[in-house]
């Protein structure tokens, strides 16, 4: 048997399709943290006028923000 398949079988024991109870609880906790409220807020942000309809290639002028990769590196900004 190829080592690759041996490895797969071994891994099957490690990652059983049903996770142990504790792991399942952790997964469900994260699952329930996803909320439509946050999603709608994010969608409203992207849809807002300040992004000008997000036309690719275009330069929208956003207020500078720390850590914003475009404003922190002028050479990388897509100046028209």
């Amino acid at each position: 048997m190829k080592p690759k398949y041996l490895l797969l079988i071994l891994l099957c024991f490690l990652f059983l399709k049903t996770y142990p109870q504790e792991a399942q609880n952790a997964i469900l906790k994260t699952f329930h943290s996803i909320s439509s409220h946050d999603l709608l807020n994010d969608a409203a942000e992207l849809s807002s006028a300040k992004y000008g309809g997000r036309l690719s290639g275009s330069q929208v002028t956003l207020p500078p923000r720390n850590g914003w990769p475009i404003s922190s590196n002028k050479a990388e900004s897509n100046q028209p």
Binding site: F15, T30, L40, S47, G52, P69, E76
Partner: protein, 412 residues
């Protein structure tokens, strides 16, 4: 990226549309003067030249000269100095090897180029859908008009627009003619030929020392159609898909159970301009293709009650984590389809990955709850049903975690 950023750049020319311009039917022997209204009757062209053109209207069907296929909309028709009334798409409708021969004529850029080289000065493009996937041609002014405007322009010609269009498609026979009316189109734009844009890339490195070399790609286009005349917010297309992925990414990053395989998140740029971002990411892959489990694309996933996973039936190993998660926790209607060869031009980022030989799934919705305002100013957050977005993000979280952790899922 090699430069230490998470931005993958590519060239991306674009045009700013400075106002909504105008489309005016000039008074003639058959008709009265009429100002068409934005946005009800027309949208300005996203890559129109700036200026005003006027001229006789000539209906040129699909605007295609495919002589090798025995089809030429311009045969025996003089369009020099004229304004064309033209269909988008193709007269041929099948999806088979014949479509392959027509494919190159389906591009808006081909049609514009052909019209310009025959001397047309402007275009009324039938289908009122804002679309930056066109080319900017010096002096060539155009606007998108509704079918009802086309029908109105046909008044007094003894023909009906809808019947003429249907007959061309049925017989694959051109039916071009001068309408004997004059129109004026004005546009105010500024073109930026040397601009560029980028994909925004995120990564969650796999937690398993061996499986981390394999990756799952999750993609959605972040761009929309801009502000041609007013803001086109692009909420459903495709803020929805983008934020669903963002929520799934946050959950996967925070998850108590870590993904064993690597997950790449690509927020594509340039989709609306011609699939530039996805094309860049298959031409300059961020991950070795042979080590990619699959690419999952989301485009317009925010209006509906059910899930649809395109291509899922062809890849049951990829589909089952999502089907299981839905059955156990979400209880939505979930349908899937077989992967089909597409003989036409690629229309989605997923199609670009398909063509490059990746296995792809596309998550979509069924059972629209709200009206769909495609490439329209009303594509705002009122057009969304946040419940299906929440469940899409949840489905992605559970499905991808399983895809990332199940050792039995292989790279075909």
């Amino acid at each position: 990226m090699s430069d230490g950023t998470y931005l993958q750049y590519f060239p991306n020319a674009y045009s700013d549309v400075l106002n909504h311009g105008s489309v005016t039917l000039l008074a003639g022997i058959n008709n009265q003067y009429k100002d068409y209204k934005f946005p009800d009757d027309y949208f300005p062209g996203s890559n129109s030249a700036s200026g005003t053109v006027s001229g006789e209207i000539v209906y040129v069907g699909f605007g295609i000269s495919a002589t090798e296929l025995g089809y030429d909309d311009y045969k025996n028709i003089d369009v020099k100095g004229k304004i064309l009334l033209m269909e988008t798409g193709l007269p041929y409708n099948g999806n088979d090897s014949t479509l392959l021969k027509w494919e190159k004529y389906s591009y808006h850029r081909y049609k514009f180029q052909r019209a310009k080289e025959l001397g047309a000065v402007g275009l009324l493009y039938i289908s009122k859908i804002a679309n930056p996937n066109t080319s900017y041609l010096e002096g060539f002014v155009y606007a998108h008009t509704s079918e009802s405007v086309a029908e109105e322009l046909f008044d007094g010609t003894g023909r009906k627009y809808s019947e003429t269009n249907a007959a061309i498609k049925k017989n694959i026979q051109p039916n071009s003619f001068a309408i004997n009316k004059k129109v004026q189109i004005s546009a105010s734009t500024k073109h930026f030929p040397d601009s560029r844009s980028c994909n925004v890339v995120g990564i969650i490195e796999g937690a398993d020392s061996i499986l981390k070399s394999e990756a799952i790609i999750l993609g959605a286009h972040l761009d929309a159609v801009g502000s041609p005349g007013c803001l086109f917010p692009g909420a459903l297309d495709n803020a929805s898909g983008s934020v669903n992925i963002l929520a799934a990414a946050k959950a996967l990053a925070a998850s108590g159970v870590k993904p064993a395989r690597t997950i790449l998140f690509i927020f594509f740029g340039g989709e609306e301009c011609g699939l530039y971002g996805s094309t860049k990411s298959v031409e300059s892959p961020l991950w070795t293709k042979e080590k990619v489990i699959c690419m999952i694309n989301l485009d317009m996933v925010g209006n509906g009650t059910g899930f649809r996973i395109s291509n899922g039936k062809s890849f049951p190993d990829l589909l089952s984590p999502f089907a299981d998660a839905n059955e156990k926790y979400l209880h939505r209607d979930l349908s899937s389809s077989e992967a089909r060869v597409n003989f036409g031009r690629p229309r989605t980022d997923a199609a670009v990955f398909d063509k490059a030989g990746y296995r792809t799934l596309s998550l979509g919705t069924t059972g629209n709850v709200k009206p769909v305002y495609y490439h329209h100013p009303l594509d705002n957050t009122d057009a969304l049903t946040p419940e299906i977005m929440e469940d899409s993000a949840k489905l992605l979280y559970l499905g991808i975690l399983e895809l990332a952790n199940n050792p039995n899922i292989g790279i075909y």
